[in-house]
């Protein structure tokens, strides 16, 4: 009996200590996970800031050997690319999401839901290959259009899923209120449901756009890159991410430096996008 007491006491201390150690370890893991984030931000900001000036936004890249210059073409190029991508991804995503939440409780709905999930897991480079065979090959040259289409495809799953989830969050009573007034279902969905869910859907759209802005792989052999000023969607176009890739690999120190600056500008661009959306969505819903 006394022996049992001792044993159970021993176990009690052991389990208390184990619990304390394991809980501390989870805290350490959480801290460790933040370290790379801090490091990446630290280097991007400290290295990128040295070349960050007005020229970077308004000037064109200089040839090898000449220092200075900017990436005006790449900044505009990235914006054009995500514009084309958005023109495809946003309507397809929102409409598909609407279908899934409003009419998607059938077999077809489940399949589409499943496929959007699967699509979100397909590597972006594979989407690039498909855009190449579908657009670049028939057009016979690289183009902003091909790159934009690849980005558009990549946006679809994010926007679809957020749209579906946001619409599902709209209380059923609101919908019934609309229907009870004799408003047809489609009008109720557009004027009441989508309007209520708009803020959440905008967040999904923003997420899709900012992810697209950071994509490189699907652009390598679709939009290709361009050292000159071009806004034509039928021609190859420059982008910040492809510049970062090319300049990071190059043997010229000056270009390496500019790669860091481009990375910083890219992060700023993405943050700006998110800020912009936040301002838009906030002003609309001041009363809440």
């Amino acid at each position: 009996m006394e022996n049992d007491m001792k044993k159970s006491n021993l176990f009690y201390y052991r389990k208390k200590i184990t619990s304390f150690i394991m809980m501390s370890l989870t805290f350490i893991a959480a801290l460790a996970a933040i370290i790379p984030l801090v490091l990446i931000f630290y280097y991007t900001i400290s290295k990128g800031i040295t070349y960050l000036n007005i020229d970077f936004f308004v000037a064109m890249p200089k040839p090898v050997g000449e220092s200075g210059g900017g990436m005006a073409n790449a900044i505009v190029g990235t914006l054009i690319l995500i514009g084309i991508g958005g023109a495809i991804g946003i309507p397809v995503g929102i409409m598909t999401g609407t279908y899934l939440s409003e009419f998607g409780n059938n077999k077809f709905g489940y399949i589409v839901r499943f496929l959007t999930d699967v699509l979100s897991g397909i590597p972006s480079i594979v989407v690039g290959v498909v855009a190449y065979t579908m657009v670049v090959v028939p057009m016979k040259h690289f183009s902003a259009l091909a790159g934009g289409i690849a980005l558009g495809i990549l946006m679809i799953p994010t926007i679809t899923r957020t749209t579906e989830e946001m619409i599902k969050l709209v209380p059923h009573s609101l919908r019934e209120a609309g229907l009870a007034l004799g408003i047809p279902k489609w009008k109720t969905t557009l004027s009441i449901v989508l309007k209520t869910a708009w803020k959440g859907i905008a967040t999904g759209v923003l997420l899709g756009l900012s992810r697209a802005a950071g994509e490189t792989a699907p652009l390598l052999f679709t939009a290709l890159g361009n050292r000159f000023w071009s806004t034509s969607i039928g021609q190859p176009i420059a982008s910040l991410t492809v510049y970062i890739y090319d300049y990071a690999k190059s043997p010229f120190e000056d270009w390496n430096q500019q790669a860091w600056t481009a990375a910083l500008v890219l992060i700023l661009l993405i943050s700006l996008l998110s800020l912009l959306f936040r301002i838009i969505t906030r002003s609309k819903y001041k009363t809440n």
Partner: protein, 249 residues
């Protein structure tokens, strides 16, 4: 009347929100105490203070709770909960464990690993909770694959296996059908020989049937505490009378 738990000037909070005001009550040993009152009156919070589950959901308390004369607000909750078991409103067996392992869970969590010791305890507890005959041939089935009433008795068996001194029951039959409810009530009657039981219920007939003592809670305070017969037949407080007569709540 021997006292098992003595609560002195207990106050309980959620954040800055005070939900229990100045509660003092002596809980008698080997009896059933029923806590009644309208919803939101703090009855669940009160029993969750007795095994310090209140702080798990981010609450805090002030005051003294003496278990056999020892202030339980100052002991280790892990040790305390071995002595003060709890059965919850909704049956919550562990779905990833078998029926056998569900009952043995508390023993294993407290370091008993010897199967020769565990097996008889599991059998005894399942018999005590009147579940043995129904599940003895399917002990390796998942704890989630039996009916709601059986799950709740499984949870009671699981609580008994740790050999507690006090069992807290938070509306244990509210999610069950009438037949299962009767079984649980019979069970409570059996168990009070060996255990001190505190049961929260919103069902006054149930309180009248199973308990020896009843405390009426209202707005976070004890309005009246007395023998069950007294509370239900001739309550001394007007509010208590209105409540047990069904005039509000």
């Amino acid at each position: 009347m021997e006292i098992k738990i003595s609560v002195k000037n207990l106050e309980a909070f959620y954040g800055k929100n005070k939900v229990l005001h100045n509660i003092s009550i002596d809980i008698p040993k080997n009896k059933v105490l029923a806590i009644i009152g309208p919803s939101g009156c703090g009855k669940s919070t009160f029993i969750r203070c007795l095994n310090r589950m209140h702080e798990v959901v981010g609450g805090s308390i002030k005051g003294e709770i003496l278990l056999d004369g020892e202030d339980l607000t100052k002991t280790d909750p892990v040790l305390l909960r071995k002595r003060v078991g709890m059965v919850f409103q909704k049956p919550n067996p562990f779905p990833s464990m078998s029926i056998f392992d569900n009952v043995a869970a508390g023993l294993k969590l407290n370091g008993v690993r010897n199967k020769k010791l565990i097996t008889p305890i599991v059998e005894k507890c399942l018999k005590q909770s009147a579940l043995w005959d129904e599940v003895k041939d399917q002990l390796d089935k998942s704890g989630a694959n039996i009916s709601g009433g059986q799950q709740q008795r499984l949870c009671i068996a699981r609580t008994l296996a740790v050999d507690p001194e006090v069992i807290l029951m938070d509306e244990p039959a509210s999610a069950l059908d009438p037949i299962s409810t009767t079984k649980i009530e019979d069970l409570i009657f059996q168990l009070k020989k060996d255990y001190t039981i505190v049961i929260v219920t919103h069902n006054m007939q149930q309180a009248a049937r199973v308990s020896d003592y009843t405390a009426f809670f209202y707005m976070g305070e004890i309005i009246e505490f007395d023998e069950t017969n007294k509370i239900f037949i001739s309550p001394s407080n007007k509010q208590t009378e209105d409540y047990v007569r069904g005039r509000f709540g």
